[in-house]
């Protein structure tokens, strides 16, 4: 009896030493659902081939700001993949779970893929919306989420503002009047990107939806290409949704190595290809070229060039009493 027990114990030890099962939690934002389902499967396969450990990745999705709050309040994320650096900065500053310089640890500002803001219009484009100037015209109804509660909406706001800045020689007053006209055309400010997509696509509200590029493509897939079409403006913002290791959590789970590899593999050919397939613009130029049909060329400006930093943009535009609030208080 004792020998059998010992044998079983030995066998168990051998198995656990040979191939451990690792668990990872990736806390992400709303529109990455489909992308990470595919990526997780690919990474698990890669990791098993490399180390013979099997890795089981759980996903959590929600508004980017809310997800960051959840991590600050103790949600045990090993990695975060959010909509904007500002939200990961908040985790670094308020909960000190990762160093303040996190964004320099991976290439391309820790954003392995990028996206931008495009227009989704109704089939045939009845209002003839081609560029930002058409969006602010009188009588055009625009659907976009509230930038105070939605990461994607902040990118959309900044995209419109950048266009106005570029067009008016960086004249702030002109840009402000442009953005005011834009938000006067908005009948509904949902709290998140998915909410706005539903308002536009299901409830039939609005002539144009300002959406994440990948979300616009998903809407076409989901609701039918016979109902909507995508219009790419002449200029938009280069949205860089960043990824980061949550050092303290990963250390406690002993998952630092696999979590790091999980993020690095996003830059690999396979990771980039999955991103491109899910309508995220890959950083890898060879792969970007292969999927060129999905991504209309346009002028992309960066947050850094137009606004300096997230902290700056936040303070000037979205904080209480900022430019966004003034749009509504001046009537």
């Amino acid at each position: 009896m004792k020998t059998i027990f010992n044998l079983v114990l030995l066998a168990a030890l051998a198995v656990s030493a040979g191939a451990a099962e690792v668990k990872l939690l990736n806390v992400s934002y709303d529109p990455t659902r489909e992308f990470y389902v595919e990526y997780n499967a690919a990474f698990a396969k890669y990791w098993q081939a490399k180390t013979s450990d099997s890795v089981n990745i759980s996903q959590s999705h929600g508004g980017s700001g809310k997800q960051a709050q959840a991590v600050i309040n103790g949600l045990d994320a090993d990695v975060v993949t959010l909509a904007l650096a500002y939200d990961i900065d908040a985790i670094a500053q308020q909960a000190r779970l990762l160093p303040a310089n996190w964004q320099t640890r991976l290439p391309n500002n820790s954003a392995p893929y990028t996206s931008t803001i495009v227009f989704l219009v109704r089939k045939g484009n009845p209002k003839g919306i081609k560029d930002w100037d058409d969006v602010v015209k009188k009588g055009v109804s625009v659907v976009v989420p509230n930038p105070k509660t939605s990461g994607g909406a902040r990118w959309a706001y900044l995209a419109a503002y950048s266009y106005a800045l570029e067009k008016n020689n960086h004249d702030d007053a002109a840009a402000r009047s442009f953005i005011t006209k834009l938000y006067k055309n908005v009948p509904v400010l949902d709290s998140g990107a998915r909410g706005s997509t539903v308002t536009f696509a299901k409830n039939g509200i609005g002539d144009v939806l300002l959406a994440w590029e990948n979300e616009a493509h998903l809407a076409l897939k989901e609701f039918g290409a016979d109902k909507f079409e995508i219009v790419t403006p002449s200029l938009s913002i280069l949205a860089e949704p960043p990824v980061a290791l949550v050092d303290k959590n990963a250390k406690r789970h002993h998952t630092t190595e696999v979590a790091n590899e999980y993020l690095k593999y996003l830059y690999s050919d396979e990771g980039q290809e999955i991103a491109a397939k899910n309508f995220y613009r890959p950083r890898n130029e060879a792969i970007a070229a292969r999927y060129a049909a999905n991504f209309t060329q346009l002028k992309l400006v960066t947050l850094k060039d137009e606004f300096g930093s997230w902290a700056n943009a936040q303070k000037t535009h979205f904080a209480d009493g900022g430019i966004f609030d003034q749009i509504y208080q001046s009537q």
């Binding site: 700001g65 600050i72 509230n146 509660t149 939605s150 509904v188 400010l189 409830n203 904080a319 509504y328």
Partner: protein
């Protein structure tokens, strides 16, 4: 009376402390990260002020409408027998059971201009989705069960003999209702009103989908609080929450006093 006053009071205080007071104290505690001027500036910003007017106004109106129609529903359910009564009775509780987000999405779809109800209202020039009217509709929906369920048991206990006595003494139907039935129902109606009102004040899920959430126009206070949280401004979020709490507490206390007073008035007059 059963003994055990001290034990039960002790338990009551402990339980209320654990479930209600500690979380509320945390709200006040978080607010202390702000200085007084910051606190004042936050709670009086124009978007917040507009949202208080909207939230308290729409909640008050919705609760008021529910008092009238809830009373009618309760009356019908108690006083008459009809086919399918049990089903109607069960329907009343649905707004309780339905997840509020589901209610919100359903209402938004119904009242949008392509929705079943919205397309009928559209030619009349009435817009419900994404207006203050939409907020009122959502709050009315979630508040109905509170009135019906508080009034119903009182109505059941109400002896029809009192009404018959009043008629035999020469009171007409209107007088019977106004002078006999209604005074006895008033405390229950007030309780129901307070519950529906309080529920509406804190409502989030069912409102945001139909409100439109435009600052200064259709943005309710909970949305402003969520906005502050999303920008990691816990202090400001709790500051606005404190305003909601204090005002709600004062209003509910007033209603309770009013209810206690009507109750006493009734007992004295009927005794």
């Amino acid at each position: 009376m059963l003994p055990g006053f001290k034990l039960t009071l002790g338990f009551t205080l402990f339980y209320l402390g654990l479930i209600v007071l500690i979380p509320l104290a945390a709200v006040f505690w978080k607010t202390t990260t702000l200085t007084w001027p910051q606190f004042w500036q936050t709670i009086t910003m124009p978007t917040a002020m507009a949202s208080y007017r909207l939230t308290f106004g729409a909640s008050f109106l919705a609760a008021l409408v529910n008092v009238i129609f809830g009373l009618i529903v309760a009356w019908v359910l108690v006083r008459y027998e009809f086919f399918g009564k049990k089903i109607v009775d069960a329907l009343v509780d649905l707004p309780f059971a339905l997840p509020t987000a589901v209610a919100g999405i359903t209402l938004a779809a119904l009242y949008s201009k392509t929705g079943w109800i919205g397309q009928l209202l559209e030619p009349l020039g009435i817009k419900a989705a994404n207006t203050q009217l939409g907020i009122f509709i959502a709050l009315t929906f979630i508040g109905l069960p509170f009135i019906v369920r508080t009034v119903q048991p009182i109505l059941e206990d109400l002896d029809p003999e009192l009404e018959e006595a009043a008629s035999s003494l020469g009171a007409n139907r209107w007088q019977v209702f106004w002078r006999v039935v209604l005074p006895m129902l008033t405390p229950a109606l007030l309780t129901g009103f307070a519950l529906a009102f309080a529920r509406a004040l804190g409502e989030y899920g069912s409102v945001i989908f139909i409100a439109g959430n435009i600052p200064m126009k259709t943005q309710i206070t909970p949305v402003i609080i969520m906005g502050e949280l999303d920008m990691f401004d816990y202090g400001k979020a709790t500051a606005i929450a404190v305003v909601m709490l204090v005002v709600s507490f004062v209003l509910l206390l007033t209603i309770n006093v009013l209810q206690w007073w009507t109750n006493r008035y009734n007992t004295n007059n009927l005794a």
